[in-house]
Symmetry: C2
DNA sequence: CGCTGTATTGATGTCTTTCAATGTGCGTGG
DNA sequence: CCACGCACATTGAAAGACATCAATACAGCG
């Protein structure tokens, strides 16, 4: 694995792929200019540790492309994923400089980083940026609570189906059958779901055997009937 | 169980027991006056359902006294607690009018409710109130993630010990041995921990047998050595 | 084409749940 | 004030789900 961090000249915000979904979605041109002046793009290779628990962090930022994981570990090595970062997600607290979680690149990944002190000032000067940050935080809180239901009450089969439905909904093509590339290894899936690798693997096999999904190599998943998979996940059909 | 809802004349904010910890902690006198005009106190008896999932809610608010639980349920009845509300905690989204969770009174409980539309306007007019709301939301998100670790990776014994440590830290007297009153039944503990009532009961018995806690009636817990209990909970000794 | 890390599959063990019975604290009404 | 009834809690035995340990298969890459 190449261990070189790539620092890139940050492209203009107006050309950014997450311009209309990230923290900057509601910014006007003058605020974008201010963001341009405090931002840096930076990339990591799959597998690299981006941040360790307890690190002092001079940055907050948005994930531009790829996938990263937020995890916590216990002293004996047991590890739980507490967040899955996909493009446009925001990372870090504007009001804290220590990382509460480890961040690892699940695929090659690029972040748009803002110097924390300057970003904090922007947040305080610009109510609609603060409101955007608040809305994104509340959405993350809802997602975390949804995941507490999965971790606390669902069976292994339901857990795996839930994760697959989530990924298919966010990243699948809409030709039939729908198809997505898993951004996670079996190990990362296990860490997300509070299971072991072996149990994840067995449940993937079982779902395939039952005709609910198809597998293409290690990462590709196909699904001809998302509603059926959703039923396996016991996802409440709330609107 | 008495099913009468009590509506109380709301006392002045300056005399409020949560004045310096709740959403209003950073408010100046003029903002407090504005809050006074939009607020109502309301109380519920232990066991009453305060809000059902999907209800339209004209209010957001703070819990003033007592304890309430935030839960989600699946169609087959499996239920998971996703939040435990103690005095000063904030409930509801200023930008949404539908409840995502059921709220139930775990003890007799009193809320300070704000009409949502007016509160939303206050948030937008008053950056430091919005920042306070943001900080509280981010703290809740951290707490939810901490709990994901408990749900996903800890053993039944560690789960029960974790909950007891949390409650002791927040509510215990500091005479020796420290003592707290559990605001939760065994059932509520089980729903919080992703366990069954029986398993919670067995672990409570085991912790008592091992000399880590004492039990006084159904709700009282004693602890002579919090560090030892914390070790059972495998709580990482982060500062 | 073989090597290395990842994934699958199988056999066994352990922990939590489930089902069932018993025990206990507390409020109500006699 | 005590006894009764009920909800809550505890305890036990058996079943089931997931983890663990171990072997094998497969994919991607030098």
């Amino acid at each position: 694995m190449t261990r070189i961090d790539l620092s890139l000249a940050a492209p203009s915000c107006s050309a950014c792929p997450i311009r209309h979904r990230a923290i900057c979605a509601t910014c006007e041109d003058d605020e974008l200019l201010r963001l341009e002046r405090m931002k840096t793009y930076r990339s990591w290779r799959v597998g690299q540790t981006i941040v360790m628990e307890g690190d002092v962090l001079p940055f907050v930022g948005s994930i531009v492309s790829g996938c990263a994981t937020l995890t916590r570990s216990m002293e004996d090595g047991r590890t739980q994923m507490v967040g899955l970062l996909l493009p446009s997600d925001f990372v870090g607290r504007h009001d804290r400089d220590r990382a509460a979680y480890q961040i690892v690149a699940a695929t090659d990944v690029t972040f748009c980083l803002f110097r924390r002190a300057e970003f904090q000032q922007l947040v305080r000067d610009t109510p609609h940026v603060m409101e955007r940050l608040l809305k994104m935080s509340l959405d993350e809180l809802d997602a975390a609570r949804e995941w507490m239901m999965v971790l606390g009450r669902k069976t292994a089969r339901e857990k795996v189906a839930s994760l697959l439905v989530n990924i298919l909904r966010r990243t699948a093509t809409d030709v039939h059958p729908i198809r997505a590339e898993l951004p996670l290894t079996r190990e990362a899936m296990a860490i997300y779901l509070g299971l072991t690798i072996e149990t994840v693997s067995r449940q993937m096999t079982a779902l395939r055997r039952d005709g609910l999904i198809g597998l293409e190599g290690r990462r590709g998943i196909l699904c001809a009937d998302l509603a059926a998979l959703q039923a396996e996940a016991e996802i409440d059909a709330a609107p």
